[in-house]
């Protein structure tokens, strides 16, 4: 919009620029920062004011100075050009191609912040997605349009789990158009290569749009990446009618970037140095998942985050859990026991499970079977820790059975490896098989019809 280059920079930090006397800046407007050597870095207005305007730079501020570095307002807010030519391509966090290919022309420019879905326009997610993983399908089922994060810890194999879901996920009796939007936020190039190879070998790469910000790329770009990725996803879902699965790794890096910028702006932090608006900020990303009435497509969101110190009460998993519709929790003790995937079904949860399961969806006994498995596994685990204190001898015989049940549950139900793809029927029958190990009279959550039809008790 303007050809004016402002040279009125008064302060430069590692992320931010402060400018004086800028004429009519807009909130969140994109700017170009021109260095002495002619390099151009993009940035964004964080605070617009007739006196001081604060700009965050998406590139390194190294080489910028007071006096000759200049800033031009573009008159535009951040946009991303969407079209179906995005599929099979790779972009950075700002939406610029990084695969050596040409820019995507002919697309429609969309504001990367999107707009909130009108709650009245939403459709309740209710289609069961079979991931082929028993601890998810059987116990914490995923449905189309849900946002279900994976809470992991450093060093755990959440990448493998994510790729297993991407490769195996399908909706029963349905072969609709399916696309993957992958956002790598501050990940290492090794992880990036792993994802690329996995997508390629499964033949999913040409149905995938990849957005990549490596750990060596500018951290401020991480703020933009999920927004650009979801703008692409919204286009594929609601304009093209595709069923889109969005994977974002690692949201912890996103939150760290948010903290970094907040600190640079000298804002008053809330818990552990994270900004007070982190909940709202994360919600503006996660709430973009969903389904819309009378539209074909959907966005299912699988954000992955590593819990610092495996602590689920840390602000990042905590705020995420309050926004998302459940969580899949990976557990270090299970990992040490060699259980793969190391999903802790008890602290995991899917809030939309009830909508997606039952007669005509999965099977009529699914809900009660899951409840019974939960109850027995929880009781068994409690008793196991009790027996570690008082010795196994102090347990009654039915208690001993429960302890053994909980071991079997981990070894046979949860432990399936990253390759095995179980149908929901298989998952349910493994569950029934395990229950037959316990006394029939203890099955408080099951209906007698269900026990007769599916139970595997011998007498």
């Amino acid at each position: 919009m303007s050809d004016i280059y402002y040279k009125s920079i008064t302060k430069v930090t590692n992320i931010l620029l402060f400018l004086e006397n800028v004429k009519a800046p807009a909130y969140n407007e994109m700017v170009e920062i021109k260095l002495d050597n002619g390099d151009i870095v993009s940035g964004q207005v964080l605070d617009a004011s007739d006196r001081f305007t604060v700009i965050q730079s998406f590139g390194s501020t190294s080489g910028m100075n007071i006096g000759s570095t200049s800033v031009r307002l573009t008159g535009e807010t951040a946009k991303f050009s969407v079209s179906d030519k995005m599929l099979g391509r790779m972009f950075n966090g700002l939406g610029e191609p990084i695969d050596g290919g040409p820019a995507v022309y002919g697309g429609e420019e969309r504001d990367i912040n999107g707009a909130p879905i009108n709650p009245y326009a939403r459709e309740e997610p209710s289609e069961f997605i079979q991931t082929g993983i028993s601890s998810i399908d059987g116990m914490n089922s995923l449905v189309r349009g849900q946002k279900l994060p994976i809470f992991s810890g450093s060093g755990m194999k959440h990448n493998q789990l994510a790729m297993q879901i991407v490769k195996q996920a399908k909706v029963l009796n349905d072969n609709e158009r399916f696309a993957v939007v992958f956002g790598g936020i501050g990940i290492t190039s090794e992880s990036a290569n792993f994802f690329k190879d996995e997508l390629e070998s499964s033949g999913a790469l040409d149905r995938t749009v990849v957005f990549l910000n490596l750990s060596s790329s500018p951290s401020v770009e991480r703020i933009m990446l999920p927004r650009v990725a979801l703008t692409a996803a919204e286009y594929l879902a609601y304009d093209k009618g595709m069923e889109v699965l969005v994977v974002l790794v690692d949201m912890t890096n996103y939150c760290e970037a948010l903290k970094e910028i907040s600190a640079a702006r000298e804002e008053i932090p809330s818990r552990r140095g994270y900004p007070g608006y982190m909940y709202t900020d994360l919600a503006s990303i996660f709430e973009r998942a969903g389904k819309i009435k009378e539209k074909k497509g959907s966005i299912t969101l699988l954000p992955i985050l590593t819990m610092p110190g495996d602590d689920i009460t840390h602000p990042i998993p905590d705020l995420t859990g309050y926004i998302t519709e459940g969580q899949v929790v990976m557990n270090r003790d299970l990992e040490k026991k060699g259980i793969v995937p190391n999903i802790d079904v008890l602290s995991s949860l899917s809030r939309l499970m009830n909508q997606g399961i039952g007669a005509n969806k999965t099977r009529e006994d699914h809900r009660n079977l899951a409840n019974q498995l939960f109850a027995a596994y929880a009781a068994g685990k409690d008793l196991r820790s009790l027996s570690e204190v008082v010795g196994e001898g102090a347990l009654s015989s039915s208690d001993k059975k429960l302890v053994e049940f909980s071991d079997k549950f981990e070894r046979e139900f949860v432990n399936q490896g990253y390759e095995q793809n179980r149908s929901i029927t298989d998952t349910l029958s493994i569950g029934w098989e395990l229950l037959s190990y316990l006394d029939k009279s203890e099955m408080k959550r099951l209906k007698s019809e269900e026990m007769e039809k599916y139970g595997k008790w011998t007498q």
Partner: protein, 584 residues
Amino acid sequence: MEGIITKVSGAVVEATHVDTPKMNDMVRVGLSGLVGEIVRLQNDKAVIQVYEDTTGLRVGDRVVNTHTQLSVKLAPGLLGSIFDGIQRPLEKIMAQSGDFMAKGVDAEPLDTTKKWKFIPSVKKGSIVKGGQVIGEVQETSLIKHRVMVPLQLSGELKFIEEGEFTINQKIAVIADKTGDVDIIMLQEWPVRLFRPVKEKLPPEIPLITGQRVLDSFFPIAKGGTAAIPGPFGSGKTVTQHSLAEWSDADIIVYVGCGERGNEMTEMLTTLPKLKDPKSGKSLMDRTILIANTSNMPVAAREASIYTGAAMAEYYRDMGYNVALMADSTSRWAEALRELSGRLEEMPGEEGYPAYLSSRIADFYERAGRVRTLGGDTGSLTLIGAVSPAGGDISEPVSQSTLRVTRVFWALDSALANARHFPAINWLNSYSLYEDDLTPWYKDNIARDWPELKKELMTVLAREAEINEIVQLVGYDALPDEDKMILDIAKIIKEDFLQQNAFDQVDAFSSIKKQYQILSSINELYSLEKSCVSNQIPISVFSSVRAKDVLAKMKYITDDKLDSVRRDFEVALEEIKNNTVVKNE
């Protein structure tokens, strides 16, 4: 005169030259006319909190003062609707601007073309005063909307007519001291102001929720206040939904404040299908939904609970029992914190503004059972979910809330992980209404209600102690008395406290059924006690039929309660016969 924007920082905008700005004036900001409210004045500068996304708002853009305060429009047509935090009708907005929320859209909150049949209840010539009911409109199949005289007016009714009117058409004329005033059904009320009442009455009647753990152990009074704090996944929202669906209030206002969009959708799809147990009419007909989801503008989230409270008070003034559920007040407090930070106010604990606890206290003070200005009795019950960071309720929002609310339903993640729902911890929760409500329970349910409840609560408290001993010595080392307590506690937990919100029958438990299950458990308990004191081993109870009958009770519809009860008595007799035989 138009104001000029001088600064934009998130939801907070500063402007100069605003036309005669007053605190809390509503203004239109920028080219697309975003809705905002003046929250601070300083020399010639007005600080404005904007209720929509400010991206793209430019320094130098205009600000127009509307010279009105942020208000709600009150008239027939509120019930069954869904609004955003500043009462914009989401259904109409979708028709206007599509599936995504566009900026600066304007839509009348209520239908101004629909004609309602108005039936006067007072005669021409009578003297009326503010708040008095002058007629009725059948607003929905469940609720008669009582049209009240605007609060500031009083005088002789010079004209009143039966007929079909829109909410903007004259239905009556009052000769007020300022002259003759035309009365229409539509009224406006500033959201931040309490609607006045004649007096507050003591809480004496419980709000029956159909949730066993609440009604029996931690009851809330009509006009009471309750807090539900809990970590994520512990079932705050499911509990709030159950209350919205099953509690015996006349009107429900449900404020989804900074929470998930899909949850509001769930309410929109389930409520119309659910039937009122008394009339068989759709529960949506008594409900107003306010949805300001977490990704919708943060300032509107701050306003949303006031919007809800103003509507709730309006129906209370008609003489209805209204219940307002706010999910979640922590998100509202976070909105306060965010705005306060942008205003560069001095922060208090955890960055929350220093006035956090007075704002919370102020909100809950709107609850109460009241005598209305019109002379009726109405009530407003407030139930707020709290989402403490990390589930730790020592944080400021939980603590400020617990200081003012009289019921505490403590959600517990350990119970939730074991899928014990509702995951309300029976040892930590409390209700300060117990004494106020005991006479009602004695008169309407059973004389022995208080003793029964106390007896079984003691079992649960005892169980917690014994469990600590079990940790040290193991179960087998326990004496039979203790084993008996564990046995009964298990039954209370599994067959009474646990309730399945997704089971057709179990979702709502009538107070009669609650009493029957409790007294049946107590009878089994008495029998076990007498056996244990007669040296009969507790193991004889390990798989008696009576326990199976008990387990089934919660899944039985009310019409079959008596026959199950007889079966239970038979089963108790069987135990008695068996134990006598064994003893000989």
